[in-house]
């Protein structure tokens, strides 16, 4: 494992959550409590510990607005679905509230049977229409290869960017104002440590890495950049909302309900609905980049009182994989899909990482935009 931060720093773990010195900018107070859970609670307590009456009023107001805006249209909102718990629960709640969602799914060639089965059970039980955007696998593989060759950390930028683009495109197609996402504060609101991922709207970065590998154009890959985001969000008024923040959201309650009523099968770790995501988080990130994302997920659950610290520490024990055989199986599948040899994988893992900012990027533009936006609308957040 390679340390993410400078090597002199002694290891320390937060006494309240489970974040540790693998986050390069972590600081601790006298009690050993870290800035990650402290900032998280400062920023998100008003959502996580919101007065239930107030929360319900906020939800009802939103639901009325969505219904009003969707009158006369085939749907009134978009719900992106991956087969994972957050988006599945969003869809269930959206239907319960009497909304008329179009479920949107993005297929990048790595879907697991579990994910397909969860989506099928949900949309069938709930009677929801589904739209799938399938990216041509040969194109997606070439883009992944470009990201691997560039040694940048956020390979999932590809999926996340395409997913954002597809949701906005579908909202726009039906003239829908609301995209209701499973993103939420209660289970994933803790800030990502610097260097653990990259700006998801960085189309310029994607295009630059693609060009670097001789890919001339994006054909079936639906990329979105900052200007696309501004266009949809502010000119077309397609609103991206973290829907679960309008509800009291407990991941474990949601999982049980989904399993009991919707034939849902859970995954051992967060975001394991795609075989690549599983391999990326469980193998590539820890080995090449010294990053274990479980820490952030579990720390958030501890800070939002959905799990005890002891449970989280137990959750961090051992390899970030269900079983050792699981790693081997996924590794072989990864090699087959990417047309790599084992040696190519080992060489990739051994190469030092390179920052996304070493390549053309929209990050600086994004930061200027966010600063301008904040100075205009003080106190509000650009997600």
């Amino acid at each position: 494992m390679k340390p993410n931060s400078n090597e002199e720093r002694a290891y320390q773990q937060c006494t309240r959550c489970v974040m540790d010195t693998t986050a390069s900018d972590i600081t601790f107070d006298e009690q050993g409590v870290c800035n990650y859970c402290t900032e998280f609670l400062e920023r998100s307590s008003h959502i996580i510990h919101e007065d239930p009456v107030q929360k319900e009023a906020r939800l009802n107001a939103l639901v009325s607005k969505i219904k009003e805006a969707g009158r006369g249209k085939p749907y009134d909102c978009i719900v992106g679905v991956s087969g994972g718990v957050d988006s599945s629960w969003t869809l269930v709640e959206v239907k319960r509230l009497g909304l008329r969602p179009l479920a949107v799914h993005m297929d990048n060639g790595w879907n697991s049977e579990l994910a397909q089965n969860n989506i099928a059970n949900l949309v069938n039980t709930l009677g929801v229409d589904l739209y799938t955007h399938v990216i041509d696998w040969e194109e997606y593989r070439a883009l992944m290869q470009a990201f691997f060759d560039a040694d940048v950390i956020d390979i999932e930028l590809l999926y996340d960017n395409a997913m954002l683009a597809v949701n906005y495109q579908q909202a726009n197609k039906y003239g829908l104002k609301y995209i209701l996402a499973g993103t939420n504060q209660a289970t994933e609101g803790m800030r990502m440590p610097p260097g653990w991922n990259w700006l998801k709207y960085d189309k310029k970065n994607i295009v630059a890495l693609a060009r670097r590998n001789g890919i001339k154009s994006l054909d079936t890959f639906p990329a979105i950049g900052i200007f696309g985001y501004i266009y949809y969000q502010y000119f077309r008024r397609n609103r991206w909302l973290s829907f679960l923040d309008y509800l009291p959201y407990n991941k474990f309650y949601a999982l049980n309900e989904l399993e009991t009523n919707y034939g849902y099968k859970r995954y051992p770790f967060k975001h394991y609905e795609s075989i690549f995501t599983r391999f990326y988080q469980g193998y590539i990130l820890p080995r090449k980049f010294g990053v274990d994302k479980r820490k952030l997920h579990l720390a958030t659950l501890v800070a939002s009182n959905q799990m005890t610290r002891d449970e989280a520490i137990k959750g961090l024990e051992g390899i970030p994989y269900p079983t050792q055989q699981g790693i081997e199986a996924d590794l072989n599948y990864f090699l087959k899909k990417m047309h790599w040899t084992r040696q190519q994988l080992d060489e990739y893992i051994a190469r030092p990482s390179i920052s996304h900012s070493a390549y053309p990027s929209e990050k600086a533009t994004w930061e200027i935009f966010v600063n301008i936006y904040r100075s205009i609308v003080k106190g509000r957040y650009v997600h």
Binding site: H105, D107, G109, W110, N111, S112, E113, L114, Q116, N117, I119, A120, V123, D129, L130, Y131, T132, V134, D136, W137, E138, T220, Y333, K336, K337
Partner: protein, 255 residues
């Protein structure tokens, strides 16, 4: 084992999977390797991969790709598309394919079916017939490579190919392909008459009851494409397959 096999039929174009509508407008539906992996996890009994451009482009099967499929596939794999010679079939079997499906070459040269059956056993030789109805509703043999219907009575051709040694017949209702509107039951009934080998019906399946209807009309097995890869009015790509007990119950009732 189920009494009747229910087989996903995957259409290959270049290196990707597509789904057609009445043999036209191939729509990309994904990476074959990932689809096979998902069907593995769904415990499908048998899988069929048909390369829809091999004969049209007058080329051999894509052996490298088929080898990958066979390696990923837990269940028996049938392959069709571009097979013209015994040597080609031999190579496919050596890669792990269990059955080969012959169409254009069998129509041109029925002796090929005999040679294949003699060499590999008729149980591993499927002949495939595409049947299209003309504007009067009359069923005719259709050549997908040329896009033309062929003269002659299709049942006669069918009987001739079975007599030549085919162990199984894949009956493709062209007008039903991808329409999710139910099978051409009349066609299945007609094909079934005097047929001594298993009949696999494909085209139009949209539900479990369509599968049942095709079986009741005389199909020994049913293959389907759109039913297993599309969902709902937007034809959203979503791979599904009935649960074993659902199929078991389906075939248990009144048979």
């Amino acid at each position: 084992m189920l009494k009747h096999r229910v087989i996903p039929a995957l259409l290959l174009k270049n290196a990707g999977l597509v789904k057609t509508l009445q043999f036209k407008n191939p729509k990309y539906v994904g990476d074959p390797i990932n689809a096979i992996r998902i069907f593995n996890d769904k415990e499908v009994d048998e899988l069929m991969v048909l390369d829809i451009t091999a004969s049209k482009e007058q080329r051999e099967p894509n052996y490298a790709l088929i080898e990958q499929f066979a390696g990923e596939c837990f269940m028996p794999l049938a392959y069709g598309g571009g097979i013209k010679t015994v040597a080609q079939a031999q190579q496919l079997f050596s890669l792990g394919v269990e059955k080969v499906c012959i169409q254009s070459a069998a129509l041109d040269n029925p002796r090929l079916v005999t040679e294949l059956a003699e060499q590999f056993g008729s149980q591993s030789i499927i002949v495939s017939l595409d049947i299209k109805r003309n504007w009067l509703g009359k069923a005719q043999l259709y050549n997908a490579t040329t896009g033309k219907t062929l003269a002659g009575v299709w049942q006669t051709q069918l009987q001739a190919l079975v007599a030549a040694g085919a162990g199984e017949v894949l009956l493709n209702a062209v007008d039903k392909d991808g329409t999710l509107s139910g099978s051409d039951l009349e066609l299945i009934r007609q094909a079934r008459e005097h047929l001594e080998v298993p009949l696999v019906a494909v085209g139009g399946i949209s539900s479990l009851s369509d599968i049942k209807a095709a079986v009741d009309a005389g199909a020994s097995a049913v293959a389907a494409g759109a039913f297993f890869v599309f969902h709902g009015p937007h034809r959203a790509v979503l791979i599904t397959y009935p649960k074993y007990h659902e199929l078991e119950n389906l075939f248990k009732a009144n048979t």
